[in-house]
């Protein structure tokens, strides 16, 4: 009897500890569904979806105000992932928001930069380095390729260049000897 009570007590204590641990370990901030959607979005922060960044778009999707096919940088893969998460059917990207294209990096032509700081103010991730009247430089590692710095530049000295391929970034490609199975989004579109 004593043993029973003791072991039950132990069990209760243990599960209490476990729950406490779980509460800390799996703590979620804010709305979990928004977090999950946001973690699928590419964080380019370009605003092509029609919202002021990835997070606001995630909130709009969660609220049912925006569709899941409005993010061109996320591409088809992103739409499929969102569809899976939300239990919806995948669909092709909405062409009104733009088309999926290879990732590019902003490069400032440092000869012609006049140091006006306008690009710096536009960059959503503070990836541009520079002070007033000094030439600016893009930190390649942090640039998301959102293109938001292009329009404000008064002297058109920012170019978007493709990311150079080297041995470190090279990937084996999809085997060519067989036609690729049609992917989910295309099947829906057809």
């Amino acid at each position: 009897m004593i043993v029973d009570i003791f072991s039950l007590g132990l069990l209760a204590a243990a599960s209490g500890l476990l729950l406490g641990f779980a509460a800390v370990r799996f703590k979620v901030e804010g709305d979990p569904i928004v977090e999950q959607i946001d973690s699928i979005l590419p964080q380019t922060q370009c605003g092509q979806c029609g919202y002021a960044g990835c997070r606001p778009y995630a909130e709009a999707i969660a609220a049912g105000e925006a569709d899941i096919n409005q993010c061109p940088p996320g591409g088809e893969g992103g739409v499929i992932a969102l569809a899976e998460l939300l239990g919806r059917d995948p669909k092709p990207l909405n062409p009104e928001n733009g088309a999926e294209k290879p990732k590019m990096l902003a490069v400032i032509d440092e000869q012609n930069c006049i140091g006006c700081t306008l690009c710096l103010q536009a960059c959503p991730v503070d990836a541009i380095l520079g002070a007033a009247k000094h030439m600016h430089t893009v930190i390649a590692r942090e640039c998301t390729g959102c293109e938001l710095c292009l329009a404000p530049c008064p002297v058109d000295c920012i170019d978007m260049l493709p990311v150079a391929q080297n041995i470190g970034t090279w990937k084996w490609s999809y085997p060519l000897s067989m036609p690729e199975p049609r992917r989910a989004a295309e099947q829906v579109a057809a």
């Binding site: 006049i114 080297n166 090279w170 490609s173 000897s177």
Partner: protein, 516 residues
Amino acid sequence: MSGLFAFHGGLKTVRHKTESNQTPIQTPPLPPRLLVPLRQHIGNPAKPLIQPGDRVLKGQMIGQADGYISAAVHAPTSGVVVALEPVPVPHPSGLADWCVVIDSDGEDRWIDRQAVDYRQMHPSDLRNWIRNSGVVGLGGAVFPSAVKMNLSGHCERLEHLILNGAECEPWITCDDRIMRERAAQIVAGIHILAHLLNPREVLIGIEDDKPDAIAAMSAACAGTGYQVRAVPTRYPSGDVKQLTKLLTNKEAPIKGRSTDIGVQCFNVATAYSVHRAVNHGEPVISRIVTVTGHVRQPGNVEALIGTPFSALIDWAGGYREGAERLIMGGPMMGFALHSDEVPVTKAANCILIAGAADLPAEQPALPCIRCGACVEVCPANLLPQQLYWHARAREFDKAQDDQLFSCIECGCCSYVCPSHIPLVQYYRFAKNEIWAQEKEKQKAELARQRHQARVERLEREKQEREAKLRQKAPAKAASPVGESAQVPLETAVARARSARESVTAPATADSDAAQG
């Protein structure tokens, strides 16, 4: 032979060892120009220590290990550094990578070589010495060896130190020849490894199709307590997991390392280079390369790192009729090269010039018939057919759930597949995509944090501005600050515009000047 165990799966392949293992290792002439890549190992590329124009001596360190998992790179001969630039290297992509280009002065003059007494050295000093000598796994994996010599945190005491002389790839014979010709020096290297790792027993595994190598190694090991064991000739017995199973009957946990079960494994040629580094003060500046297949005189050469493949193919008598494809490594695990103007690296164990008959016929892949042949041969106990479905459909999560990363890319499954499906290509594709996605995720997370920080900062600044504005609202109404700031910007814009235009029209300016 006592105490031998079997592993699951594997293949009997057609052997092509005698083509190249009948003659002793030869030394080709010193090439006039060497291309020494800074990335010849797993981990960070070496950091260059020289500049174009510098004179270097044979064995001089020209690239320094960068970080824990990295290895040093040395000048293979004396001469002048003529360039530090990207040069095509042996890689499936055919891309260029950073190389130190050295024009040899023909003197082949060594640095001052210093042997060290390893018995008197602190283990970490000895490991550092080996690391600075550029020693990496010469079986083809090129993992920095010094890292594997540090057991702290992995296991209490090493049970088995395994020396890998299995050499199971059907065409490669460089380990066979080095064991036959330099057994005593390999054993001298094993003494150093055993001194560092203090194993309970030392096992040397050699496939039983190499009787001469087994005899030579057994003779050299007499009286040392090291045990030479012949293992059945069955591909891929030379993979660490398979060789461990064969020799000890132990299997490492799926996601674990071999040290988790008290095993550490080195290639026999690696033991040889440990000996050269410690007892002779010679860093890794050459390796034995099998040149075989459709060349006139196949064989093994001791080639300086950086020697162009084309020079070795010439040395072997040149291409023979029927040469179809240039492969680095064996036909099972190697990869096709785009050109023979690439340098020998520490990973280059074999240059195979394959003929049409040596390669699996290029046949269009047919649908999988679910025959299960691939499952039977998979030495990693995986379900290759299942992995193939997932990789093909880009369902990478499911592929990972089915242990994609336990696949050793041995190629057994592709070899037996009656539908000629390039299974391993699918696995390589899937692994690469998963790594790339992982990198993308990290980058996205960084962008998310930076964006959030910016939003918060802007909000804070806005509030501060508003607070200030409220303080001196009456004064601000009359001040024309905004306009005066605008003027210099416009003039600057105009200046830059004209500057950019004059730069973009250099052709006309030049021709004008030429006429005038």
